[in-house]
Amino acid sequence: MAGGQERILRRRIKSVQSTKKITKAMELIAASRIVKAQARVAAARPYSDQITEVIRNLAAAGAASSNPLLVPRDEVRTVGYVVVTADRGLAGGYNSNVIRAAERDLQARRAEGKEYSLILVGKKAANYFRFRGYTIDAQFAGFSDAPTYENAREVAREVMQRYRDGSIDHVELAYTQFRSVATQRVEVRRFLPLEAAAITEAASTGPQADYEFEPAPGAILDEIVPRYVESRLFAAFLDAAASEHAARQRAMKSATDNADELIKVLVRQMNRARQDSITTEIIEIASGAEALAAAKGGVDLLRDRLVDQDFLGTDPTNLYQSRRTATTE
């Protein structure tokens, strides 16, 4: 039956439309969150800039860079990975890109005969690595879209703890760098030991000003380096959060566009189906009427009633008369 086709299409259109409403809403939410996340990235910059400057000054003043967080280990047996993903999907390739980059690096090091240790941030990373049978040493979740400094501190504490007690000798950080709303890039970069290049460079150029230190530079350095580690991790979290929202916005935008396209096609199909069924109905009625007329002996019933009236002259009474006969017949 022709009407059934139409009904099925109508139902599909309705379901696509409601999906579209959801994706559209998610797109708008993500877009507004990108702005907020970007503002947070910018707001966090003064602290990390300043802390870097203080460290540089300390190094220039001859603070011994014997801090374990600054000194690379001679033998690297275990490589730690901090993988920063989101808690939720619906963000296109955002999560899988980070995970894949981290896994590739991990496998390459494994081929060199090194052990790995996973410290995962975000539910998605935990799900993936658990499913693949990797050993997970620590996992954190629940703050990927709006991380606080406290979250970064917690993760940093865990990482530094493992680094200090020697269970990991080197740490790689895998996250998504936020360059602009249009560009985000997955980065797998060395996290610990810290890149001491800037510090040693400052040390070789000598002090720019005669600083007073309280307490001694070495003691301040030991205190400030962990804060620096925290703030770098925090910066990575904020970048990741902004990237997550940007990725989600893009994914939801294309989903909305797809839904529009699909609705257009479905509406066209539905209209055709309706036209078809109307045409079929008309044909049915017309052929039914014809068949009936043929059975009655060639008198066309419709035309007979309405038009083919015998007007008896021009006398108005006759005309009236004839109309009456026409209607009462």
């Binding site: 947070r40 707001a43 966090a44 003064p46 602290y47 990390s48 300043q50 802390i51 400057e53 203080v54 000054n57 300390l58 606080t148 400094y149 970064a152 501190r153 000003a209 005669d210 600083y211 007073e212 230190f213 309280e214 307490p215 530079p217 003691a219 301040i220 205190e223 400030i224 804060r227 925290e230 703030s231 925090f234």
Partner: protein, 136 residues
């Protein structure tokens, strides 16, 4: 000529502006900075940072729970991962935190809970509320 002061937390700049004097508590004791101070880097203890803005009679007070202070070329930068401006401290919550911290100290008596009590006191001090008697 006055000091350029910035009070910076990891998440944002809490306060910035010009000031005549900045008083902070470093590990070695209170220290005040005025214009022309020699370059200085120090570790902050748990205590108050008091800033007297130029041309203002009221002080800006912040509770700082550890951090760093750098002074150079009449620029004072206070870096603290846990800092609160007095005007943003919720006194009720701070009081409750103090009570909890004191109970914890009575129960355990360890160094951690001592620090927690101290933090709570500093927070209330910054908010301009005298801390309860018998807590010292």
């Amino acid at each position: 000529m006055s000091l350029q002061v910035e009070l910076v937390s990891p998440e944002r700049i809490l306060w910035s502006g010009e000031a005549e004097i900045v008083i902070a508590r470093t590990a070695g004791g209170d220290i005040a900075f005025m214009t022309g101070h020699a370059p200085f880097v120090g570790i902050l203890g748990v205590g108050l940072v008091r800033i007297k803005p130029t041309g203002s009679s009221t002080e800006e007070v912040a509770a700082v729970h550890g951090g760093f202070i750098e002074v150079k070329d009449n620029r004072v930068t206070v870096l603290s991962d846990v800092a609160e401006l007095a005007s943003q401290i919720d006194v009720e919550r701070a009081r409750a935190a103090q009570r909890r911290a004191e109970e914890a100290r009575r129960a355990s008596g360890d160094v951690d809970s001592d620090a927690a009590v101290r933090r709570a006191q500093v927070r209330l001090e910054a908010a301009g509320v005298t801390t309860g008697a018998g807590t010292h």
